[in-house]
Amino acid sequence: MKIATFSMVISMSFLIGCSLSPQEWAHQRTIDLGSTTPIGLTVVDQHFWVADGDNNQLVHLDKEGKILFKEEGFERPMHITTDGKSIFIPEYGKDQVTIFQGKDKVKMLLTDSLDAPAGIHYNDGFFAIADFYNHRILYGKEDQWIRFGQEGKENGEFYYPTDVHIFDNQIYVADAYNNRIQMFDVEGNFLLTFGAEEKIKAATGIFVSNTQVFITDFENNRVLIYSHEGLLEQIIDRDLNSPTDVFLHEEILIVANYKGKNLMFYEQE
């Protein structure tokens, strides 16, 4: 009886353990981008859009990775986003966000000035913008914006934020040279920070899924994957070369490698 109870406990623990432990992400394929140096990435209708910072262009690829066209004339485009129709491009060298649709480029109207915007994210009518040299985040829409953060190392402060992601009424920030992730509510109140224990060197790109937070660790050539509570679940480091952005699309994780000049695709096993 004692043995049977013990076996049952062990079996239960194993089953619970299996159901709780997340599946690992495994590499599936790589798309070589040629001379394109990807900084930011988004997906619209199965097509990839890549912000090519070094070459000041936006690159449009089909789902197989074939380059369809390149739109030139941007000044250091960074971490981009989409509302499904337009691409929103923070132009680091121009201190503005440009809305690109079809062939039209329009400056996004903001109530505040930017100094080297490095990342933007759209969710359900609202935008968050990482304002790199101002060490702050802008959040809002149309003429209703809030701004939060200042230069510093304390919780709620930033040291060159490079990317943002809005998820479930929370704003996640890649706080690049504080080497961490910070989480805020939509009023700009600090909630949580994580990533310090992993000794990140330049947290550059961020994506938040229903269950996980993905962050690129630029200098260490890694992607770190956390739970929403900040618990480390997986480290991807094989063959990455200066990753700058990460994106989850239909259960496929895509990593943009700046120096590797490619996109790497992962699926959960």
């Binding site: 140096t37 900084i39 910072g53 070094d54 250091r76 680091y92 060298g93 080297a116 490095a118 790199f132 040299y133 040291y159 060159y160 490079t162 690049a176 040279y177 000794k199 060197k201 330049a202 550059t204 630029f218 200098e219 200066s242 700058t244 700046y258």
Partner: protein, 209 residues
């Protein structure tokens, strides 16, 4: 009348050419080979900062090669020291700097080279120097090599070890270490001033012990 028109046209084109030449020749062309353009966010920042300097035009950075070019009004007579100071202020390290004056004259910086003599005693040492990235590496190596008596310097980003060889008759580890600390990097012997450390670019701000 025909001759008059030809003369006027000739004068016009001569003047236009002269003006054009004058406009072209009123700028100095500057080329700086910058080391450690590893991080695009900082590199684009360098470009952005330079664009903000009054008079600087045609700023371009070739990320692959680290070649950074711009033009500057000739009458300002910018010097190599001034350029390298601006590059330093932006957190970068100029390896070579060249100015092509509007007159055609070319100026280049010259890196100091230590001569090994019969009296030299070459010593190899390894010292810990804190840093993060390629930009740190360029700054550390340049600072070490800028110390009179240093023959070679190699810094490893992973181990943060600086391997140096130097003429012990001309310098010592302590002097080299102090020079490196002056540009913002702590060593096992010398701690950098916190203001200098604080002025390093974000990606170079290593974790201090």
């Amino acid at each position: 009348m025909k001759h008059l028109i030809i003369i006027i046209v000739a004068i016009f084109f001569t003047t236009a050419d002269t003006n054009q030449l004058f406009a072209q020749s009123s700028k100095d062309q500057i080329e700086v080979q910058v080391d450690g353009l590893g991080c695009p966010f900082c590199a684009y920042g360098l470009e952005k900062k330079f664009k903000e300097f009054k008079g600087i035009k045609d700023v371009e950075i070739e990320m692959e090669t680290g070649v950074f070019t711009f033009t500057y009004p000739s009458d300002k007579a910018i010097t190599i020291d001034q350029i390298e100071k601006k590059v330093d202020d932006a957190g970068y390290t100029a390896v070579t700097t060249m100015i092509e004056r509007s007159s055609g004259e070319v100026e280049k910086n010259e890196q100091q080279k230590t001569e090994v003599t019969e009296d030299s005693e070459v010593i190899e040492e390894n010292i810990f120097v804190a840093g993060n990235c390629g930009m740190c590496e360029a700054r550390i190596v340049k600072s070490a090599m800028g110390t009179e008596g240093v023959l070679s310097a190699e810094w490893d980003k992973e181990t943060q070890n600086l391997k140096i060889s130097f003429d012990s008759a001309q310098t010592d580890v302590s002097t080299i270490s102090e020079n490196i600390a002056l540009v913002g990097h702590d060593t096992q012997l010398t701690k950098s001033d916190s203001t200098v450390y604080g002025a390093l670019p974000g990606c170079c701000q290593y974790e201090r012990k």
